[in-house]
Amino acid sequence: MENNPLQLSVSEFVALTNQTLDYAYPTVSVIGEVTEFRISQGKWVSFKLKDAGAVVGCFLVVNQLRMPVEDGMKLLVVANPRLNNKGFFSLNVRAMKPVGEGSIKKGFELLKAKLEAEGLFAPERKRRLPRVPQRVAVIASTESAGYIDFCKIINERWGGLSVEVAHTQVQGVPAPDQMIRAIHYFNSLEVLPEVLVIVRGGGSAEDLMAFNDEPLARAIAESRIPTLVGVGHEVDNSLADMVADVRAATPTNAAEILVPDRNEIIRAAHQRSASLGHQLVQAIDEYSARTREQLNAAFRRIQEKLDEHFERLATLRLATAQLNPENVLRRGYAFLRGEVTLGATVEIETEHTIAQAEVKHVRTK
């Protein structure tokens, strides 16, 4: 065999090597630290992955880059190993994700800063959700606990909703693209849903990494339908949350934000009706009090008038009493009746007597 080695042209050798690689390792996952990261002509991305013992080149086109990358980050790349026609061996990257807490956090912070600089988290971009939506779109894994919690709560709280659910993966490499397709699907409907909800229950930072994907964050930000995102637990913050119109802490919280609680509304409706009853009673009381007050005022006025008249009457009675002839006689005066002429007879009345007398002398005063 050594005496008769396979004789190939260079091109044949490269093709055969690639064929062998395709057969033996069609896809490999490689973990390493990024070094010499660069983007050429705004189109091509190249970097090297290294560990303590070796280095390998990686290559991808810029639109495959789903997050900012920096030297020093630890990445897992899913790639096809290739030998190119210039004799360089590289990994043609199909997908990649940061590995380890430090790199996940670094990738998150870099993308957060980038999107924030573009104003994607600005409060003025946030749209209000309808108080009581009728048509709702949901993106979730229908097998997940988060989705089951979400449905349980909306069913408990409200009724009459028309909910369309897009079942997608919500973790792992395919998840962001599936969710993006679902966002595009709902946004292309002839009659748009009123709210687009994306929910996923809790998980590790790596599980939730799909929600820190740049194209997904942009798709949420560009959605024509107002968005409500509830991912993970209270403490989890994802970029999908930040670009959404409304952030919910959890899927349960998303359901609570989405629809009001029917029991509260029923209670409030009865309370409002009862409050009108109280207002009615109060109005009747006020009316009665006012009427009573008016009647009292009328009685007081009548009493005042009566008092005035009685007082006047008493004065008149006193005056009349003083004019009474009996009283004059009692004071020692006497009445004279008859014509006072010489020789005439007149009658003289005192308090106790009546006498007749003859006029003997008349003198003019």
Binding site: V132, T142, C151, I154, N155, W158, G159, G160, L161, S162, V163, E164, V165, A166, H167, T168, Q169, P174, Q178, M179, R181, A182, Y185, R262, I265, I266, A269, H270, R272, S273, S275, L276, G277, Q279, L280, A283, I284, Y287
Partner: protein, 68 residues
């Protein structure tokens, strides 16, 4: 729109209007009792409507695992 066809939202709005009427200068004691009775009927209907409503949740048939 007939009474039968009013949505919960419309009934809630109507109840709000009754509440507002009680606090407005248009309030008249002569009409208040009828308005109060209307509010009681609305509250009852809202309770009945909300209790019986069910959500319609459908998973769309379209698959999202690849571009079509």
């Amino acid at each position: 729109m007939s009474e039968q066809n009013k949505s919960v939202q419309e009934k809630l709005t109507e109840l709000s209007e009754l509440v507002a009427w009680f606090q407005s200068p248009a309030f008249k004691l002569e009409d208040a009792f009828d308005k109060f009775k209307q509010s009681e009927v609305l509250a009852e209907e809202i309770e009945k409507d909300l209790t019986k409503l069910k959500n319609d949740i459908k998973v769309v048939k379209k698959k999202f695992d690849s571009e079509e």
